[in-house]
Amino acid sequence: MIFDWAWVADNLGDIWAALAEHIVLTVIPIGLGFLMAFPMALASIRWPGLYSPLLGVAGILFSIPTLALFVVMIPFTGLSKATAIVPLTLYTLLILLRNTVEGLKGVPVHVREAAEAMGYTRTRQLFRIELPLAVPVIVAGLRIATVNTIAYVAITALIGQGGLGNLFMDGFLRQFPTPLIVGLVLSVTLAVTADLGLLGVQRVLTPWQRDPG
């Protein structure tokens, strides 16, 4: 028998804990990543010369293999959560920075000029006009980054973190498919749920994009 329901029933507590850890290891890097990418994006808009170098650095970070980053981190942070969170955060920067900047740049020129001509101050215009209009592109970035991060979290099982990744390891090491399948199903479900959830958030934030009704 390929799937052992009894194992699932016996290990329900551990499965939930793995799922919870997976969620934490996703939410924290996305949150931190956005907190870093957002000011970087604003700076890139304010001083356009910064955009290329920032994007370049984010791109290099994105291209470093996960394992290599863990190896670099371990002497400083050991096998702690931080060792998992720092690389996962850095990986989100490229997508979040790029989408936030492109979202802001995508605001039509005549809309920006109209705001300027109405007498908006620079800051107020950014927060009242440009950011709301950039929401669809920014959220699109968050969706990609989130789905990516959910996939990457599993790898952190190699340094003793990993959430659902632990179930993969367990199944693999024991040549016992049940935990592997449970981990896979939960991780895909988590990714799909997060993606749809963010899409829902976007719909709530952008009532003006819905069809006329």
Binding site: P108, H110, V111, E113, A114, A115, E116, A117, M118, G119, Y120, T121, R124, I129, P132, L133, T206, P207, W208, P212
Partner: protein
């Protein structure tokens, strides 16, 4: 009042978009900046609210040097309407209109009242208040653009091809409505267009600009057509300059000729006499109340009869004194007598407009 004092704008690439521009926009007047592309009309407009800063010279807006006022403060007193409208897609129509009131801190109640009033003023139904811009037609969006610009009742308006993006029928409608509105509001307006006909229709005064930001002539439409300053202006005004002039002169501004008018009861000899005096071979026939019934050919009259027994031919069209000489010309061309008969609102005879009347005006 807006005063351009020797304003020059040279862009970083060396292009000159305004070359020593000096002119005044008097309070309550609509001044049109018109010219071919590259003449810097939009640049001139945008220097008023400091979207573009002049390289040299000064622009005085309502008594203060525009450069001495912080740009956002200056702009809140200047309505701005552009061709692409530039409504904020994420805000409802009501919130779009409320933009400037909310920037200058009006309370909710005052803002809501004002928004409701403006939606009426620009001829929209209150139902649009809660909709988003993309749910409106181009013409409706343009109206919202005008309402948004008027929201805080700014003394000055800048309009950059505001009716350029809608079809010709809607454009004419919006122009007419805006002129009606302007007669009430008496805003001081600078209006940019590339269309000389729109300029003639909208402008109290017209500034004709040439490539390189050179002001070729600044005058009222009538003066511009009567005395174009140079060949560029003549060319820009186009081939139908005289027709355009006639379109701007009301029939009431000219002295119509008395014409050979007789009553249907008059003897034929009276008609013959009147025609001879007027140098025509026809006479106009009216009833006792001076209402024009038509005309008779003198040759067709029987000497022993009254005019009324002759064959009275009706007129297809008349002109009234509030119509233009251009309309009179249309009537003349259609009339077998080559004149336009002028009547008052009740159809009573006032005189005839002849070819001589028109050429006399154009000289």
């Amino acid at each position: 009042m807006i005063i351009f004092e020797s304003v020059t704008k040279r862009f970083a690439d060396g292009t000159v978009a305004a070359d020593d521009l000096s002119f005044e926009v008097p309070d309550g007047e609509l001044v049109v900046l018109v010219g071919p592309s590259g003449c810097g009309k939009t640049t001139a407009l945008r220097m008023v609210n400091r979207m573009i800063e002049p390289t040299d010279g000064r622009i005085n807006v309502n008594g203060q040097d525009a450069a001495s006022v912080p740009a956002p403060t200056l702009r809140r007193d200047i309505g701005y309407v552009i061709q692409q409208v530039g409504l904020f897609p994420h805000l409802t129509i009501a919130d779009n209109v409320a933009t400037v009131p909310s920037l200058i801190g009006w309370d909710k109640e005052r803002t809501n009242e004002r928004v409701e009033e403006l939606i009426d003023t620009v001829g929209l139904s209150q139902e649009v208040a809660g909709r988003y811009p993309r749910q409106l037609s181009g013409g409706q969006q343009q109206r919202v653009g005008v309402a948004r610009a008027l929201a805080a009742d700014p003394p000055i308006m800048l309009m950059d091809e505001p009716f350029g993006a809608v079809d010709p029928i809607v454009r004419a409608l919006l122009q007419d409505e805006f002129l009606r509105l302007q007669r009430e509001l008496k805003k001081t307006i600078i209006f940019v267009t590339h269309d000389i006909d729109e300029a003639m229709k909208m402008g109290d005064r017209i500034a004709i600009l040439n490539v390189g930001g050179v002001l070729e002539q600044y005058a009222t439409p009538t003066d511009l057509l009567a005395e174009p300053a140079n060949d560029f202006v003549v060319d820009f005004l186009g081939a139908e300059r005289n027709l355009k002039r006639l379109a701007l002169i009301p029939v009431s501004a000219v002295e119509p000729e008395p014409g050979p008018l007789v009553s249907a009861d008059d003897p034929a000899s009276r008609a013959r006499e009147a025609a001879r005096e007027a140098g025509t071979d026809w006479a106009l026939v009216s009833d006792a109340d001076k209402r024009v019934e038509g005309w008779v050919s003198i040759d067709s009259l029987d000497e022993q009869e009254t005019v009324g027994n002759g064959e009275i031919q009706p007129f297809g069209h008349f002109v009234t004194h509030d119509e233009s000489l251009r309309a009179a010309l249309d009537v003349m061309v259609e009339s077998p007598l080559n004149v336009a008969v002028g009547v008052d609102e009740d159809g009573r005879y006032e005189g005839v407009v002849t070819h001589n009347t028109l050429t006399g005006e154009l000289d």
